[in-house]
């Protein structure tokens, strides 16, 4: 599924990741914990191959950081769903089109788009709000739109970079419940967080990273 083999990564001569090795299995739910600047986002970026190791190797499904070509990257990313603290929605289009965006860029047919978008919006409980714009939604709702967009291509894993970082406790729980539900349906989740509350409430395997070094599990 996802494997890090002795990953060392330097950016501008400073060591960001230091000898990281771990593996995430099919359908797992894994937390990635660590203080600010520890390297959580950097690990996620290696998985969607926005960044490559200086040494070592990252393997995601049948793609390897050592061998992947520019042409293959879009196809790797279509197998991943990524969500962020700041949602990254497009403010110039409504909920439906934000979600449909992920299908349109793959050249999907419009009847297929309509069917799939309605299905994932129902999944995150936003069917009613499909014509609203991101600015008209609450933070939790915006993150649900982002989740809908992330799952529309049936990814094998959701990469979540502090998805509850901008949300209050109640809304965070809402988002966590959706991620849990998606995970129960078979999709793996790798979620970076430093919220003790969430880590206490949801018991999953946890990777701890500090200063670019992975602590022993």
């Amino acid at each position: 599924m996802i494997e890090f083999y002795n990953v060392h990564t330097k950016i501008d001569n400073s060591v960001i990741l230091n000898n990281i090795t771990f593996r995430i299995l099919k359908g797992e739910f894994v937390f990635l914990k660590g203080s600010s600047g520890a390297g959580k986002s950097t690990i996620l970026r290696h998985i969607y191959m926005d960044l490559y190791p200086t040494q070592g190797m990252v393997i995601v499904e049948n793609y390897s950081s050592a061998k992947i070509s520019d042409k293959e990257i879009p196809f790797l990313r279509r197998k991943l769903g990524v969500i962020f603290q700041d949602f990254k929605l497009l403010s110039d289009r409504n909920v439906f089109d934000n979600v449909a965006f992920a299908l349109r860029v793959t050249g999907a047919k419009s009847n297929e788009i309509k069917r799939k978008v309605m299905r994932v919006l129902t999944e995150v409980n936003l069917g009613q709000k499909r014509n609203m714009y991101p600015s008209e939604l609450s933070g939790g709702e915006q993150q649900r739109v982002a989740i809908a967009r992330a799952i529309i291509n049936n990814p094998f894993i959701i990469l979540a970079d502090e998805p509850t970082g901008n949300l209050d406790t109640k809304t965070s729980v809402e988002i966590m419940e959706i991620l849990e539900k998606i995970n129960r349906q078979g999709t793996a989740v790798l979620m970076a967080t430093h919220s003790q509350e969430i880590l206490k409430k949801y018991k999953h395997r946890t990777l701890t990273i500090e200063n670019g070094i992975l602590e022993k599990e």
């Binding site: 926005d50 520019d70 879009p74 196809f75 990313r77 279509r78 990254k88 992920a102 860029v105």
Partner: protein, 285 residues
Amino acid sequence: MNFWFTIREGFKGFSRARLSTFISISSIVFSLFLISVFLIVSLNIDSWISQLRSKLELEVFIDRTKSDNEIQLIQQKINKINGLAEINYISKEDAAKRFEKEFGQNIYSILNSNPLPASFVLKLKKEHQNAQSAQIITSEISKIDGVEEVIYQKELISVIDNYIEILYLGGILIIVLLITITFILLYNTIRLTIYARRDIIEIMKLVGAKKSFIKRPFVIEGILQGVLGAGFACVAVYFAVKLIIRFVYPYLILKSEIFAILFVLGFLIGYLSSWMSVRKHLQTY
């Protein structure tokens, strides 16, 4: 679907970098307009000059003492020379008639005899209607025994030849300069649009859009700007020409090819500048 999505995204670029879009379209309109002014001017000068050139005649005066038979021989020799389109014989009698027509007086009544020489009036083939060819042909004819003198409007033809080149060269330089400026402006507009749309580019990358798919809307946008600019320029040229014909110079020639040239130029400038800008500024992975 894919196609319309791309077109729609291309148009959205317009509203993102509104000011620079406006500036680059204006500059396209402006330079294409100037280019067509140049084209129209040269088109008109060209047709005027080729009229002038086609009027170019060599007059070959024959030695007065030559008999009709000898003159026929001379004509045969002239006939062999390359580059002549037409040979007309003007006999002494014809010359006298011409004289009377031009000056209103019979030459015999003034001089009692006809001193006018017989001559040939030669027209040159189109490709030889220039100073150099006229010079060569003249010197060849001059060598023929019995030919006294060859005359033609030497100054006029060499002035045309010398200055036209400078005029065209200057015009072409200006055109190249204008195209370059327009190109740079458009290139920069696309750069700004790319910057203004970095959010959507980031998301496209995240959700797995292919490189070409991400780039295409920006290239489409460049082409739209180029073609739109060409459209405006055509309208401006059309009305400007109408006004000039109406109020200034009724003989102005305008060919529809000029509009085609403007569209092709607009398209090419738009396409190439945006393509280069995208290549340079849109690092996809």
